[in-house]
């Protein structure tokens, strides 16, 4: 896992923590994340959540997180694509598709070479390219992501794919997304970016308002709203610690403590938890 905390422009904290059920059942953390810098202002952040039903998905998640970052970085650095000045929705959709197909091919080759069923490596993937004025995001499966503009408004930038049951979703190893564009969601945000976040579903109920109840109608309804009372204090506190001279390592240690046991429910969460938070330094 690559945990480099700050680029020149960004303060980034990240952590993948094992869930309580996984500890009890003696299975590894199936979440993985990867951060890679492209230049002083631009970088790539990836979060993968291995399928609980696939016994080696922790391995799949690690491979996909790293490969996606590395291959996309290579893509960004090609002359043909001048990020962020030359991005439109079609280009980004095509690049996402091609990169994730390559990652999928890599997984297939790895599985074949090591005599594995590739389905055992199933995982979701969320990939974010961040820069001060543009965010690119694409994803397969669930999890959440959001950004905050310089007016302090937090907004979701992806819609998780959920199956009929609460714990079902789509994985990079599924065939469906290759032939049906709607399962690979790609978005571009052009705004003055102050912060961004991406996370596995194990964190979503702590950082997002994911549902609510309408008492009058007696129905529950889904929401996809980053909870600003969660993010606002955290970005403030992290920036303040940074200004006090906390090192990358110390900041990440604080972040790790927070993700592991920031409140009683987070500490008790059964699912693996990954949360990346990037803040543009003032």
């Amino acid at each position: 896992m690559n945990n480099k905390t700050s680029t020149h422009s960004w303060l980034i904290v990240s952590h993948s923590a094992i869930g309580r059920q996984h500890v009890k059942k003696n299975i590894p953390c199936q979440d993985a994340h990867y951060l890679i810098e492209v230049n002083a202002e631009t970088g790539i952040a990836v979060v993968c959540d291995g399928a609980g039903s696939a016994i080696e998905s922790h391995m799949g998640a690690k491979i996909v997180a790293k490969q996606t970052s590395v291959l996309l970085k290579r893509e960004i650095e090609t002359v043909a694509w001048q990020f962020p000045s030359n991005t439109d929705a079609n280009i980004w959709q095509n690049i996402s598709y091609e990169v994730l197909l390559k990652v999928r091919d890599f997984l297939n080759r790895f599985a074949k070479k090591t005599n594995r069923d590739v389905k055992l490596l199933a995982c979701t993937v969320i990939v974010v390219v961040y820069s001060p004025h543009t965010i690119l995001i694409s994803h397969i499966g669930d999890g959440r992501a959001a950004y905050c503009n310089n007016r302090g408004d937090w907004q979701a930038i992806m819609t998780p794919f959920k199956g009929e049951e609460a714990n079902q979703t789509m994985f990079i190893t599924c065939d469906l997304w290759c032939s049906h564009a709607e399962y690979l969601e790609c978005n571009i945000i052009n705004d003055d970016i102050a912060a961004f976040t991406l996370m596995s579903d194990g964190c979503e109920n702590y950082a997002f308002q994911t549902n609510s109840y309408d008492e009058e109608k007696g129905i529950f309804f889904s929401l996809n709203e980053p909870y600003s009372k969660f993010f606002q204090p955290l970005t403030g506190q992290l920036l303040s610690l940074y200004k006090q001279g906390y090192s990358d390592q110390e900041l990440n240690k604080e972040w790790q403590n927070f993700i592991e046991s920031g409140n009683e429910s987070l500490a008790k969460e059964s699912d693996d938890k990954t949360l990346i938070l990037g803040i543009l330094k003032a």
Binding site: G52, E165, Y206, I219, L234
Partner: protein, 225 residues
């Protein structure tokens, strides 16, 4: 802890567990007393587990010569454990069918009210053989289809005297692995329900796709799921 934040309030995804319990005459005496005790302990265990208590809905169907929904689906805080009494014969097939309908109806209700849910569980406990003339094979097909279509997980538990061959016939499989039936050792209802509450805590918090691995039970020999 240096970092502090506020957390939103979200509602939990629900799991329903429907017990289908044999209250025919042969369960009289010690077996029904132990079953009642076990149910009470189960209720208490879930009640004491704050997280599971908010996720797990329990329903109870009994069968003898009548089929009764003793408990409609509810969180433990909304009902008290019942005290079951015995009478008559064993309309097991009708009992299980009632449970299948009940969980399907509940699923529809979850959908209509916009609630997230996990796969329902149907747990059959019986000590006998079903009354003659009931369509065992029809039920077996319905259970197999239900398990294959991921509509529910069905678990059959036999108490001494149960016709395990019939329970075998109506048991389905998950990912080509058969699930049950299991024979309760002696009258270890207490252990069984303790295992059930631990299992339901896992199932109701599962982020696990199809596969849920449950704790090793002490109330039966040989267990694999």
């Amino acid at each position: 802890m240096l970092l502090k934040a506020e957390f939103p309030r979200n509602y939990e995804a629900k799991t329903i567990c429907c017990f289908v319990l044999d209250t025919s005459g042969s369960m009289g005496g010690e077996p029904i007393a132990e079953l009642n005790n076990g149910l009470k302990e189960f209720h208490e265990e879930i009640h004491n587990d704050e997280t599971t208590a908010q996720r797990l809905e329990i329903a109870i169907v009994t069968f003898d010569n009548n089929i009764k929904i003793v408990q409609e689906p509810a969180l433990v805080e909304d009902f008290a454990a019942p005290t079951l009494t015995v009478t008559g014969t064993t309309r097991m097939v009708d009992g299980v069918r009632e449970a299948i309908t009940l969980v399907e109806t509940r699923k529809q209700w979850y959908k209509q009210t916009g609630q997230q849910y996990l796969r329902p569980w149907i747990i059959l406990i019986t000590d006998g053989a079903p009354d003659g003339g009931q369509n065992i094979h029809g039920l077996a097909q319905e259970i197999r289809d239900g398990m294959n279509n991921k509509a529910f997980v069905f678990l059959a538990v036999g108490v001494k005297g149960a016709d395990m061959k019939i329970l075998q016939t109506i048991s389905g499989s998950l990912k080509e692995k058969s699930v049950g039936p299991y024979m309760l050792q002696g009258l270890k209802f207490s252990e069984f329900f303790e295992w059930m509450s631990a299992s339901m805590a896992i199932a109701s918090s599962s982020a696990e796709g199809d596969k849920v691995s449950l704790p090793k039970p002490t109330w039966t020999d040989g267990f694999e799921i």
